[in-house]
Protein backbone atom coordinates (compact mmCIF):
# COMPACT_ATOMS: atom_id res chain seq x y z
CA UNK A 1 0.00 0.00 0.00
CA UNK A 2 1.26 3.45 -0.93
CA UNK A 3 0.60 6.65 0.94
CA UNK A 4 -0.88 9.20 0.67
CA UNK A 5 -4.22 7.45 0.26
CA UNK A 6 -6.79 9.16 -1.91
CA UNK A 7 -10.31 9.14 -0.44
CA UNK A 8 -11.55 12.40 -1.95
CA UNK A 9 -13.25 11.06 -5.07
CA UNK A 10 -16.10 13.60 -4.84
CA UNK A 11 -13.57 16.35 -5.51
CA UNK A 12 -12.09 14.59 -8.49
CA UNK A 13 -11.20 11.09 -9.61
CA UNK A 14 -7.96 9.80 -11.06
CA UNK A 15 -8.21 9.11 -14.77
CA UNK A 16 -8.66 5.46 -15.64
CA UNK A 17 -5.60 4.27 -17.63
CA UNK A 18 -7.98 2.94 -20.30
CA UNK A 19 -9.37 6.44 -20.72
CA UNK A 20 -5.90 7.91 -21.14
CA UNK A 21 -5.07 5.27 -23.70
CA UNK A 22 -8.15 6.14 -25.73
CA UNK A 23 -7.28 9.83 -25.63
CA UNK A 24 -3.61 9.70 -26.54
CA UNK A 25 -3.96 9.46 -30.34
CA UNK A 26 -6.09 12.62 -30.27
CA UNK A 27 -3.37 14.51 -28.42
CA UNK A 28 -0.95 13.42 -31.13
CA UNK A 29 -1.40 12.49 -34.79
CA UNK A 30 -5.21 12.78 -34.80
CA UNK A 31 -5.26 16.49 -34.11
CA UNK A 32 -7.98 17.48 -36.56
CA UNK A 33 -10.74 20.00 -35.92
CA UNK A 34 -14.05 18.17 -35.75
CA UNK A 35 -15.64 21.04 -37.64
CA UNK A 36 -13.31 20.68 -40.67
CA UNK A 37 -15.53 19.21 -43.35
CA UNK A 38 -13.07 19.07 -46.25
CA UNK A 39 -10.38 16.59 -45.26
CA UNK A 40 -9.66 13.37 -43.45
CA UNK A 41 -8.16 15.11 -40.39
CA UNK A 42 -11.51 16.70 -39.68
CA UNK A 43 -13.45 13.56 -40.53
CA UNK A 44 -11.57 11.34 -38.10
CA UNK A 45 -11.97 13.93 -35.34
CA UNK A 46 -15.68 14.22 -36.05
CA UNK A 47 -16.03 10.45 -36.06
CA UNK A 48 -14.34 10.22 -32.65
CA UNK A 49 -16.59 12.94 -31.25
CA UNK A 50 -19.72 11.25 -32.55
CA UNK A 51 -18.66 7.93 -31.05
CA UNK A 52 -18.16 9.64 -27.70
CA UNK A 53 -21.54 11.37 -28.02
CA UNK A 54 -23.10 7.95 -28.43
CA UNK A 55 -21.22 6.59 -25.39
CA UNK A 56 -22.35 9.51 -23.19
CA UNK A 57 -25.94 9.27 -24.41
CA UNK A 58 -26.04 5.54 -23.85
CA UNK A 59 -24.98 5.82 -20.19
CA UNK A 60 -27.92 8.11 -19.37
CA UNK A 61 -30.52 6.63 -21.71
CA UNK A 62 -30.52 9.60 -24.08
CA UNK A 63 -30.32 10.05 -27.84
CA UNK A 64 -26.91 11.18 -29.08
CA UNK A 65 -28.47 14.28 -30.66
CA UNK A 66 -29.41 15.42 -27.15
CA UNK A 67 -25.82 15.68 -25.91
CA UNK A 68 -24.06 19.06 -25.91
CA UNK A 69 -20.37 18.95 -25.02
CA UNK A 70 -19.12 21.61 -22.62
CA UNK A 71 -16.04 22.35 -20.51
CA UNK A 72 -17.53 20.65 -17.46
CA UNK A 73 -20.52 20.56 -15.16
CA UNK A 74 -20.15 24.19 -14.04
CA UNK A 75 -20.58 25.33 -17.62
CA UNK A 76 -23.38 22.83 -18.17
CA UNK A 77 -25.24 24.18 -15.13
CA UNK A 78 -24.74 27.76 -16.26
CA UNK A 79 -25.93 26.96 -19.78
CA UNK A 80 -28.98 25.03 -18.59
CA UNK A 81 -30.18 27.57 -16.03
CA UNK A 82 -29.29 30.82 -17.77
CA UNK A 83 -30.21 29.37 -21.15
CA UNK A 84 -33.70 28.42 -19.96
CA UNK A 85 -34.20 31.67 -18.04
CA UNK A 86 -33.40 33.68 -21.16
CA UNK A 87 -35.26 31.50 -23.66
CA UNK A 88 -38.43 31.21 -21.60
CA UNK A 89 -38.42 34.73 -20.14
CA UNK A 90 -41.79 35.52 -21.71
CA UNK A 91 -43.38 32.51 -20.08
CA UNK A 92 -42.17 33.26 -16.57
CA UNK A 93 -39.28 34.25 -14.36
CA UNK A 94 -39.48 31.87 -11.40
CA UNK A 95 -36.89 29.17 -10.69
CA UNK A 96 -36.95 26.60 -7.89
CA UNK A 97 -33.80 25.06 -6.47
CA UNK A 98 -32.58 23.70 -3.13
CA UNK A 99 -30.34 25.07 -0.39
CA UNK A 100 -27.79 22.26 -0.73
CA UNK A 101 -27.06 22.68 -4.43
CA UNK A 102 -23.52 23.13 -5.67
CA UNK A 103 -22.32 26.72 -5.95
CA UNK A 104 -22.38 26.39 -9.74
CA UNK A 105 -26.16 26.24 -9.44
CA UNK A 106 -26.68 28.55 -6.45
CA UNK A 107 -24.46 31.34 -7.73
CA UNK A 108 -25.99 31.07 -11.19
CA UNK A 109 -29.42 31.51 -9.60
CA UNK A 110 -28.16 34.44 -7.55
CA UNK A 111 -26.93 36.16 -10.68
CA UNK A 112 -30.32 35.64 -12.34
CA UNK A 113 -31.99 37.20 -9.30
CA UNK A 114 -30.04 40.37 -10.06
CA UNK A 115 -31.56 40.29 -13.53
CA UNK A 116 -35.15 40.07 -12.35
CA UNK A 117 -35.67 36.36 -11.77
CA UNK A 118 -37.35 35.09 -8.64
CA UNK A 119 -35.71 32.06 -7.05
CA UNK A 120 -37.11 29.74 -4.38
CA UNK A 121 -34.50 27.87 -2.34
CA UNK A 122 -36.21 24.79 -0.93
CA UNK A 123 -35.15 23.77 2.56
CA UNK A 124 -33.99 20.21 3.25
CA UNK A 125 -35.30 17.60 5.60
CA UNK A 126 -32.82 16.45 8.29
CA UNK A 127 -31.90 13.46 6.10
CA UNK A 128 -30.91 15.79 3.25
CA UNK A 129 -33.87 15.09 0.98
CA UNK A 130 -36.25 17.73 -0.32
CA UNK A 131 -39.91 17.61 0.67
CA UNK A 132 -41.97 16.86 -2.46
CA UNK A 133 -45.02 18.62 -1.03
CA UNK A 134 -42.99 21.77 -0.53
CA UNK A 135 -41.86 21.51 -4.14
CA UNK A 136 -45.47 21.18 -5.33
CA UNK A 137 -46.48 24.20 -3.28
CA UNK A 138 -43.58 26.27 -4.56
CA UNK A 139 -44.52 25.88 -8.23
CA UNK A 140 -46.48 28.89 -9.55
CA UNK A 141 -47.75 29.87 -12.98
CA UNK A 142 -44.53 31.88 -13.35
CA UNK A 143 -42.27 28.90 -12.69
CA UNK A 144 -40.19 27.93 -15.71
CA UNK A 145 -37.51 25.70 -14.20
CA UNK A 146 -36.84 23.39 -11.29
CA UNK A 147 -33.15 22.61 -10.75
CA UNK A 148 -32.38 19.98 -8.12
CA UNK A 149 -29.17 17.97 -7.98
CA UNK A 150 -29.22 14.22 -8.47
CA UNK A 151 -26.73 13.40 -5.69
CA UNK A 152 -25.06 15.79 -3.29
CA UNK A 153 -21.31 16.33 -3.47
CA UNK A 154 -20.82 16.54 0.30
CA UNK A 155 -23.24 14.06 1.82
CA UNK A 156 -23.92 11.84 -1.21
CA UNK A 157 -27.66 11.95 -0.64
CA UNK A 158 -29.70 11.02 -3.72
CA UNK A 159 -32.81 13.14 -4.28
CA UNK A 160 -36.11 11.58 -5.39
CA UNK A 161 -35.36 12.68 -8.95
CA UNK A 162 -37.98 10.53 -10.64
CA UNK A 163 -40.74 11.95 -8.45
CA UNK A 164 -39.44 15.50 -8.88
CA UNK A 165 -39.41 14.98 -12.64
CA UNK A 166 -42.96 13.63 -12.59
CA UNK A 167 -44.20 16.66 -10.66
CA UNK A 168 -42.48 19.01 -13.11
CA UNK A 169 -43.89 17.16 -16.09
CA UNK A 170 -47.41 17.31 -14.68
CA UNK A 171 -47.09 21.05 -14.06
CA UNK A 172 -45.41 21.81 -17.37
CA UNK A 173 -42.19 23.05 -15.79
CA UNK A 174 -38.75 22.14 -17.10
CA UNK A 175 -36.55 20.01 -14.83
CA UNK A 176 -32.77 20.31 -14.77
CA UNK A 177 -30.60 18.10 -12.59
CA UNK A 178 -26.93 18.52 -11.79
CA UNK A 179 -25.97 14.84 -11.94
CA UNK A 180 -22.23 15.39 -11.66
CA UNK A 181 -21.84 13.05 -8.68
CA UNK A 182 -24.42 10.49 -9.79
CA UNK A 183 -23.68 9.68 -13.42
CA UNK A 184 -21.50 6.60 -13.64
CA UNK A 185 -22.04 5.79 -9.95
CA UNK A 186 -25.74 4.91 -9.89
CA UNK A 187 -28.17 4.16 -12.73
CA UNK A 188 -29.37 7.40 -14.32
CA UNK A 189 -31.95 7.39 -17.10
CA UNK A 190 -33.30 10.65 -18.45
CA UNK A 191 -36.50 9.02 -19.75
CA UNK A 192 -37.43 7.09 -16.62
CA UNK A 193 -36.27 9.93 -14.39
CA UNK A 194 -38.35 12.52 -16.30
CA UNK A 195 -35.34 14.80 -16.73
CA UNK A 196 -35.30 17.60 -19.32
CA UNK A 197 -31.75 18.86 -18.78
CA UNK A 198 -28.86 17.07 -17.09
CA UNK A 199 -25.31 18.18 -16.32
CA UNK A 200 -22.38 15.79 -16.08
CA UNK A 201 -18.63 16.04 -15.82
CA UNK A 202 -15.73 13.90 -17.04
CA UNK A 203 -13.36 14.15 -14.12
CA UNK A 204 -15.85 12.87 -11.54
CA UNK A 205 -16.07 9.52 -13.34
CA UNK A 206 -12.46 8.65 -14.08
CA UNK A 207 -12.32 10.80 -17.21
CA UNK A 208 -10.32 13.96 -17.93
CA UNK A 209 -10.83 17.42 -16.47
CA UNK A 210 -12.09 20.27 -18.62
CA UNK A 211 -14.84 18.33 -20.35
CA UNK A 212 -18.47 17.67 -19.54
CA UNK A 213 -21.85 17.56 -21.19
CA UNK A 214 -25.36 18.88 -20.97
CA UNK A 215 -28.25 16.65 -21.94
CA UNK A 216 -30.99 18.70 -23.61
CA UNK A 217 -34.27 16.88 -24.27
CA UNK A 218 -35.41 16.99 -27.90
CA UNK A 219 -38.85 15.42 -27.66
CA UNK A 220 -41.87 15.94 -25.37
CA UNK A 221 -40.96 18.59 -24.63
CA UNK A 222 -38.39 19.92 -27.05
CA UNK A 223 -36.20 22.07 -24.80
CA UNK A 224 -34.71 25.22 -26.25
CA UNK A 225 -31.82 27.16 -24.78
CA UNK A 226 -30.32 30.55 -25.41
CA UNK A 227 -26.62 30.00 -26.02
CA UNK A 228 -24.32 31.59 -23.47
CA UNK A 229 -21.19 31.42 -25.62
CA UNK A 230 -21.47 32.87 -29.12
CA UNK A 231 -19.30 31.96 -32.06
CA UNK A 232 -19.16 29.35 -34.78
CA UNK A 233 -22.44 27.71 -33.90
CA UNK A 234 -21.03 24.38 -32.76
CA UNK A 235 -23.17 21.86 -30.88
CA UNK A 236 -26.33 22.82 -32.75
CA UNK A 237 -25.78 26.45 -31.87
CA UNK A 238 -26.01 25.86 -28.13
CA UNK A 239 -22.32 25.98 -27.34
CA UNK A 240 -19.86 27.54 -29.74
CA UNK A 241 -16.17 26.80 -29.56
CA UNK A 242 -13.88 24.27 -31.24
CA UNK A 243 -14.56 20.90 -29.71
CA UNK A 244 -12.08 19.53 -27.19
CA UNK A 245 -11.63 16.30 -29.14
CA UNK A 246 -9.22 14.45 -26.82
CA UNK A 247 -11.28 15.44 -23.77
CA UNK A 248 -14.52 14.38 -25.44
CA UNK A 249 -12.98 11.04 -26.48
CA UNK A 250 -11.91 10.55 -22.85
CA UNK A 251 -15.35 11.46 -21.54
CA UNK A 252 -16.91 8.97 -23.93
CA UNK A 253 -14.57 6.19 -22.90
CA UNK A 254 -15.14 6.99 -19.22
CA UNK A 255 -18.90 6.71 -19.77
CA UNK A 256 -18.50 3.39 -21.57
CA UNK A 257 -16.43 1.97 -18.69
CA UNK A 258 -18.91 3.20 -16.10
CA UNK A 259 -21.76 1.60 -18.01
CA UNK A 260 -19.93 -1.73 -18.06
CA UNK A 261 -18.63 -1.68 -14.48
CA UNK A 262 -21.01 0.50 -12.47
CA UNK A 263 -23.09 -2.30 -11.02
CA UNK A 264 -20.19 -4.39 -9.70
CA UNK A 265 -18.24 -1.32 -8.67
CA UNK A 266 -21.20 0.10 -6.76
CA UNK A 267 -21.57 -3.11 -4.78
CA UNK A 268 -17.86 -3.27 -3.98
CA UNK A 269 -17.67 0.38 -2.90
CA UNK A 270 -20.87 0.11 -0.88
CA UNK A 271 -19.32 -2.79 1.00
CA UNK A 272 -16.11 -0.87 1.69
CA UNK A 273 -18.03 2.25 2.72
CA UNK A 274 -20.13 0.23 5.15
CA UNK A 275 -17.01 -1.37 6.60
CA UNK A 276 -15.46 2.05 7.16
CA UNK A 277 -18.65 3.38 8.70
CA UNK A 278 -19.14 0.38 10.95
CA UNK A 279 -15.61 0.56 12.29
CA UNK A 280 -15.79 4.28 13.00
CA UNK A 281 -19.21 4.12 14.64
CA UNK A 282 -18.46 1.02 16.72
CA UNK A 283 -14.98 1.96 17.94
CA UNK A 284 -15.70 5.62 18.70
CA UNK A 285 -18.52 7.21 20.67
CA UNK A 286 -20.35 10.42 19.74
CA UNK A 287 -20.02 9.84 15.99
CA UNK A 288 -22.85 10.87 13.64
CA UNK A 289 -23.43 10.03 9.99
CA UNK A 290 -24.75 13.05 8.09
CA UNK A 291 -27.59 12.52 5.62
CA UNK A 292 -29.76 9.58 4.63
CA UNK A 293 -28.02 6.21 4.49
CA UNK A 294 -30.82 4.71 2.46
CA UNK A 295 -30.80 7.28 -0.35
CA UNK A 296 -27.09 7.67 -0.83
CA UNK A 297 -24.24 7.14 -3.26
CA UNK A 298 -22.46 3.87 -2.47
CA UNK A 299 -19.06 5.57 -2.34
CA UNK A 300 -19.91 8.40 0.07
CA UNK A 301 -19.54 8.70 3.81
CA UNK A 302 -19.95 12.00 5.62
CA UNK A 303 -19.49 11.75 9.33
CA UNK A 304 -19.14 14.11 12.30
CA UNK A 305 -16.78 13.33 15.16
CA UNK A 306 -18.30 15.39 17.94
CA UNK A 307 -15.97 17.54 20.08
CA UNK A 308 -13.14 17.23 17.56
CA UNK A 309 -12.53 20.06 15.09
CA UNK A 310 -12.32 18.91 11.48
CA UNK A 311 -9.22 20.73 10.40
CA UNK A 312 -7.18 19.49 13.34
CA UNK A 313 -8.39 15.99 12.49
CA UNK A 314 -7.23 16.36 8.89
CA UNK A 315 -3.86 17.55 10.15
CA UNK A 316 -3.47 14.31 12.08
CA UNK A 317 -4.26 12.15 9.07
CA UNK A 318 -2.05 14.00 6.63
CA UNK A 319 -1.38 10.83 4.64
CA UNK A 320 -5.10 10.37 3.92
CA UNK A 321 -6.74 12.75 1.46
CA UNK A 322 -10.28 13.62 2.56
CA UNK A 323 -12.30 16.84 2.95
CA UNK A 324 -13.67 18.58 6.00
CA UNK A 325 -16.90 20.53 6.40
CA UNK A 326 -14.98 22.81 8.69
CA UNK A 327 -13.92 26.03 7.08
CA UNK A 328 -11.38 27.18 9.59
CA UNK A 329 -9.09 28.27 6.76
CA UNK A 330 -11.71 30.19 4.84
CA UNK A 331 -12.03 33.94 5.23
CA UNK A 332 -15.57 33.68 6.56
CA UNK A 333 -14.90 30.85 9.05
CA UNK A 334 -18.30 29.50 8.02
CA UNK A 335 -18.68 25.72 8.16
CA UNK A 336 -20.38 23.64 5.45
CA UNK A 337 -23.64 25.26 4.25
CA UNK A 338 -24.85 21.80 3.24
CA UNK A 339 -24.63 20.40 6.76
CA UNK A 340 -26.16 23.59 8.17
CA UNK A 341 -29.08 23.20 5.76
CA UNK A 342 -29.70 19.76 7.30
CA UNK A 343 -30.14 21.50 10.63
CA UNK A 344 -26.82 20.30 12.00
CA UNK A 345 -25.36 22.69 14.52
CA UNK A 346 -22.27 24.59 13.49
CA UNK A 347 -20.30 22.54 16.01
CA UNK A 348 -21.10 19.27 14.23
CA UNK A 349 -20.48 20.86 10.84
CA UNK A 350 -17.02 21.91 12.05
CA UNK A 351 -16.41 18.30 13.13
CA UNK A 352 -17.31 16.62 9.85
CA UNK A 353 -15.22 14.64 7.40
CA UNK A 354 -16.24 13.62 3.88
CA UNK A 355 -14.93 10.34 2.49
CA UNK A 356 -15.28 9.65 -1.22
CA UNK A 357 -14.26 6.12 -2.15
CA UNK A 358 -13.40 5.33 -5.74
CA UNK A 359 -12.64 2.75 -8.38
CA UNK A 360 -9.06 2.36 -7.20
CA UNK A 361 -9.74 2.30 -3.45
CA UNK A 362 -8.67 -0.95 -1.79
CA UNK A 363 -9.85 -2.66 1.38
CA UNK A 364 -6.37 -2.26 2.84
CA UNK A 365 -6.60 1.51 2.35
CA UNK A 366 -9.99 1.64 4.04
CA UNK A 367 -8.67 -0.32 7.01
CA UNK A 368 -5.65 1.95 7.29
CA UNK A 369 -7.88 5.04 7.13
CA UNK A 370 -10.21 3.70 9.82
CA UNK A 371 -7.32 2.90 12.17
CA UNK A 372 -5.65 6.28 11.65
CA UNK A 373 -8.85 8.21 12.21
CA UNK A 374 -9.78 6.29 15.35
CA UNK A 375 -6.31 6.94 16.77
CA UNK A 376 -6.36 10.68 15.99
CA UNK A 377 -9.93 11.23 17.18
CA UNK A 378 -9.04 9.63 20.50
CA UNK A 379 -5.93 11.79 20.76
CA UNK A 380 -7.80 15.00 19.96
CA UNK A 381 -10.56 14.16 22.41
CA UNK A 382 -7.89 13.91 25.11
CA UNK A 383 -7.16 17.49 24.11
CA UNK A 384 -10.78 18.58 23.84
CA UNK A 385 -12.26 20.65 26.68
CA UNK A 386 -15.70 19.93 25.23
CA UNK A 387 -15.28 16.16 25.41
CA UNK A 388 -14.08 16.57 29.00
CA UNK A 389 -17.13 18.63 29.95
CA UNK A 390 -19.50 16.16 28.32
CA UNK A 391 -17.85 13.28 30.15
CA UNK A 392 -18.33 15.25 33.39
CA UNK A 393 -22.02 15.36 32.58
CA UNK A 394 -22.18 19.02 31.55
CA UNK A 395 -24.77 19.97 28.91
CA UNK A 396 -22.83 22.12 26.44
CA UNK A 397 -25.96 23.84 25.21
CA UNK A 398 -26.48 25.27 28.71
CA UNK A 399 -23.12 27.04 28.74
CA UNK A 400 -23.04 30.69 27.75
CA UNK A 401 -20.25 30.71 25.22
CA UNK A 402 -18.47 33.92 24.40
CA UNK A 403 -18.83 33.77 20.62
CA UNK A 404 -16.01 35.47 18.80
Amino acid sequence: MQTPIYLDNHATTPMDPRVLEAMLPYLGARFGNAASRNHSFGWEAEEAVEKAREQVASLIGANKKEIVFTSGATESNNLAIKGVAEMYAERGNHIITAATEHKAVLDTCKRLEKHGCKVTYLPLKPDGLIDLDQLREAITDKTILVTIMYANNEIGVIQPVREIGAICKERGVLFHTDATQAVGKVPVNVIKDNVDLLSLSGHKMYGPKGVGALYVRRKSPRVQLTAQIDGGGHERGMRSGTLNVPGIVGLGKACELCQQEMEAEGKRLGGLRDKLMNRLTSELDEVFVNGSLEHRLPNNLNISFAYVEGESLLMGIHDIAVSSGSACTSATLEPSYVLKALGKGDDLAHSSIRFGLGRFTTEEEVDYAAESIIRIVNKLRELSPLYELVKEGVDLTKIEWAAH
Binding site: S312, M315, T329, D346, H404
Partner: protein
Protein backbone atom coordinates in the same frame (compact mmCIF):
# COMPACT_ATOMS: atom_id res chain seq x y z
CA UNK B 1 -2.47 24.95 3.60
CA UNK B 2 1.04 24.42 4.85
CA UNK B 3 1.72 24.64 8.57
CA UNK B 4 4.94 25.99 10.05
CA UNK B 5 7.29 23.51 11.68
CA UNK B 6 6.54 25.02 15.08
CA UNK B 7 2.78 24.59 14.66
CA UNK B 8 3.33 20.99 13.58
CA UNK B 9 5.60 20.36 16.56
CA UNK B 10 3.04 21.68 19.06
CA UNK B 11 0.25 19.76 17.30
CA UNK B 12 2.18 16.49 17.31
CA UNK B 13 3.63 16.95 20.81
CA UNK B 14 1.32 19.31 22.66
CA UNK B 15 2.85 20.63 25.90
CA UNK B 16 1.01 20.66 29.21
CA UNK B 17 -2.20 18.98 28.14
CA UNK B 18 -4.61 18.37 30.96
CA UNK B 19 -6.67 19.92 33.70
CA UNK B 20 -5.98 21.39 37.13
CA UNK B 21 -8.46 21.29 39.99
CA UNK B 22 -10.87 24.13 39.32
CA UNK B 23 -11.71 24.31 43.00
CA UNK B 24 -8.14 24.91 44.11
CA UNK B 25 -8.04 28.57 45.30
CA UNK B 26 -4.68 29.10 43.63
CA UNK B 27 -5.86 27.81 40.26
CA UNK B 28 -7.27 30.24 37.70
CA UNK B 29 -9.35 28.88 34.82
CA UNK B 30 -10.11 30.63 31.56
CA UNK B 31 -12.40 29.16 28.91
CA UNK B 32 -12.90 31.18 25.74
CA UNK B 33 -14.40 30.65 22.30
CA UNK B 34 -17.51 28.76 21.29
CA UNK B 35 -18.16 25.34 19.74
CA UNK B 36 -20.13 26.82 16.83
CA UNK B 37 -17.14 28.99 15.94
CA UNK B 38 -14.93 25.91 15.82
CA UNK B 39 -12.63 27.00 18.65
CA UNK B 40 -12.82 26.53 22.42
CA UNK B 41 -9.73 26.96 24.60
CA UNK B 42 -9.49 26.09 28.25
CA UNK B 43 -6.35 27.39 29.92
CA UNK B 44 -5.48 27.00 33.59
CA UNK B 45 -2.70 28.43 35.75
CA UNK B 46 -1.64 27.50 39.27
CA UNK B 47 0.05 30.32 41.15
CA UNK B 48 2.46 29.93 44.04
CA UNK B 49 0.87 32.16 46.70
CA UNK B 50 4.21 32.92 48.36
CA UNK B 51 5.99 34.20 45.25
CA UNK B 52 3.12 35.10 42.90
CA UNK B 53 4.77 33.04 40.20
CA UNK B 54 2.86 30.68 37.89
CA UNK B 55 4.15 27.23 38.78
CA UNK B 56 1.89 25.18 36.55
CA UNK B 57 -0.13 25.77 33.38
CA UNK B 58 -2.41 23.34 31.56
CA UNK B 59 -4.65 23.53 28.52
CA UNK B 60 -7.24 21.71 26.51
CA UNK B 61 -8.32 23.02 23.13
CA UNK B 62 -11.03 22.17 20.62
CA UNK B 63 -9.91 23.83 17.42
CA UNK B 64 -7.67 23.74 14.42
CA UNK B 65 -3.96 22.91 14.58
CA UNK B 66 -3.04 26.57 14.97
CA UNK B 67 -5.42 26.96 17.89
CA UNK B 68 -3.92 23.90 19.58
CA UNK B 69 -0.41 25.20 18.95
CA UNK B 70 -1.25 28.71 20.22
CA UNK B 71 -2.58 27.40 23.52
CA UNK B 72 0.20 24.83 23.91
CA UNK B 73 2.78 27.60 23.38
CA UNK B 74 0.94 29.85 25.84
CA UNK B 75 1.23 27.25 28.62
CA UNK B 76 4.96 26.94 27.92
CA UNK B 77 5.44 30.68 28.21
CA UNK B 78 3.28 31.04 31.31
CA UNK B 79 5.30 28.72 33.50
CA UNK B 80 7.74 30.65 35.66
CA UNK B 81 6.22 34.03 34.88
CA UNK B 82 4.66 36.34 37.45
CA UNK B 83 1.00 37.13 37.03
CA UNK B 84 1.82 40.60 35.73
CA UNK B 85 4.37 39.24 33.27
CA UNK B 86 1.75 36.77 32.03
CA UNK B 87 -0.68 39.59 31.34
CA UNK B 88 1.96 41.24 29.15
CA UNK B 89 1.91 38.34 26.63
CA UNK B 90 0.44 39.68 23.39
CA UNK B 91 -1.22 37.71 20.60
CA UNK B 92 1.32 39.14 18.17
CA UNK B 93 4.09 37.41 20.14
CA UNK B 94 2.31 34.10 19.45
CA UNK B 95 1.77 34.98 15.77
CA UNK B 96 5.47 35.69 15.36
CA UNK B 97 6.69 32.63 17.26
CA UNK B 98 4.41 30.21 15.36
CA UNK B 99 4.56 32.05 12.01
CA UNK B 100 0.76 32.03 11.81
CA UNK B 101 -0.78 33.16 8.50
CA UNK B 102 -3.39 35.97 8.53
CA UNK B 103 -6.41 33.59 8.54
CA UNK B 104 -5.10 32.07 11.77
CA UNK B 105 -4.51 35.27 13.73
CA UNK B 106 -7.81 34.72 15.54
CA UNK B 107 -6.23 31.62 17.14
CA UNK B 108 -3.57 33.78 18.78
CA UNK B 109 -6.19 36.32 19.89
CA UNK B 110 -8.09 33.50 21.51
CA UNK B 111 -4.96 32.33 23.34
CA UNK B 112 -4.33 35.84 24.68
CA UNK B 113 -7.97 36.02 25.79
CA UNK B 114 -7.60 32.65 27.52
CA UNK B 115 -4.53 33.85 29.45
CA UNK B 116 -6.33 37.01 30.55
CA UNK B 117 -9.42 35.04 31.54
CA UNK B 118 -7.39 32.53 33.57
CA UNK B 119 -5.49 35.28 35.43
CA UNK B 120 -8.70 37.23 36.07
CA UNK B 121 -10.25 34.08 37.53
CA UNK B 122 -7.22 33.52 39.75
CA UNK B 123 -7.29 37.13 40.95
CA UNK B 124 -10.97 36.98 41.71
CA UNK B 125 -10.56 33.76 43.64
CA UNK B 126 -7.40 34.67 45.50
CA UNK B 127 -8.85 38.02 46.57
CA UNK B 128 -11.53 36.21 48.54
CA UNK B 129 -9.71 33.02 49.31
CA UNK B 130 -9.79 33.53 53.09
CA UNK B 131 -13.51 32.86 52.85
CA UNK B 132 -12.66 29.32 51.80
CA UNK B 133 -16.02 29.14 50.11
CA UNK B 134 -14.92 29.92 46.60
CA UNK B 135 -15.59 27.72 43.65
CA UNK B 136 -14.85 28.00 39.99
Amino acid sequence: MAYSDKVLDHYNNPRNVGSLDKKDPYVGTGMVGAPECGDVMKLQVKVDPATGVIEEAKFKTFGCGSAIASSSLATEWLKGKSVDEALAIKNTDIVNELALPPVKIHCSVLAEDAIKAAIADYKAKSGVRDDAAVSA
